[in-house]
């Protein structure tokens, strides 16, 4: 087996495994949907995450929030690594 074939094999294997992420909510989102955390599977991009969240919590569509992946603000349609900790962050109002 060549090196190229091997890495191709590994990639296919990972794609078939459903990845699992944890989603936490804060501020007024936590108030609306609970401050615990939920687990989602089969989601690997921000777009997929938004869709899944809006399906489950339609009220979120009317709320302004950013998304953090592993404590870093995510922009655009970033990909979400397996096992990520996702956070839904309404506008900050500290100080």
């Amino acid at each position: 087996m060549t090196k190229a074939n091997l890495s191709g094999f590994v990639k296919r294997k990972m794609e078939t495994k459903e990845q699992k992420i944890t989603v936490k909510a804060f501020g007024m989102i936590a108030e609306k949907f609970g401050s615990g955390q939920i687990e989602l599977t089969g989601i690997s991009t921000i777009e997929e995450l938004r869709k899944a969240l809006f399906d489950q919590f339609p009220e979120l569509k009317n709320m302004k929030f950013s998304i953090a992946i592993n404590k870093q603000l995510a922009s655009g349609n970033a990909s979400i690594p397996d096992g990520s900790e996702i956070a839904l962050l309404p506008p900050f109002s500290g100080g």
Binding site: K24, F26, G27, M28, A30, E31, A68, K71, A87, L89, P90, P91, F92, S93, G94, G95
Partner: protein
């Protein structure tokens, strides 16, 4: 000589007491290369809202992310200004109107660096730290604080 800095806790439970501020100031009397300290204090306002009057703010945070972010801000501000010291304290939980919820403290040989660094820290803290204030009203309702 630069020492490696690591994230440290910025959160205190409840209001920040004037006495703790005095202690923090007094702790700098041995640092005799400091010529100026700049301090910003955030105080909870008793604003009148359509839904009632604010009597307290209940602060919550995404603590792990906030501490990482605070560390990143610290490092950037230390790199930008010639500071001797920098301290940041933010309340979590309930802080009554008239009490202190934010304490930012910078010290430098010359006043300008301390002042500019303090201003920049306050702006960045308000804009970038994942912290939320729930304004508790005298009507037993609440509204979520919005930063301007």
């Amino acid at each position: 000589m630069k020492t490696k800095r690591t994230p440290k806790n910025i959160f205190v439970l409840g209001a920040i007491s004037p006495d703790s501020i005095a202690k923090s100031i007094a702790n700098h009397s041995t640092k005799t290369d400091i010529g100026g300290h700049s301090i910003f204090l955030g105080q909870v306002r008793s604003d009148e809202k359509p839904e009632g009057r604010v009597i307290a703010i209940d602060y919550s945070a995404y603590e792990e992310m906030a501490l990482e972010k605070a560390f990143e801000i610290r490092e950037a501000v230390f790199a930008k200004y010639p500071l001797s010291c920098m301290h940041i304290y933010h309340s979590l939980g309930e802080v009554k109107a008239g009490e202190i919820c934010l304490f930012v403290f910078t010290s430098s040989k010359h006043r300008k660096a301390a002042m500019d660094a303090c201003d920049e820290l306050v702006e960045r803290i308000k804009a970038e730290l994942p912290v939320w204030g729930k304004e508790i009203l005298d009507s037993e309702n609440h509204v979520w604080k919005v930063n301007s």
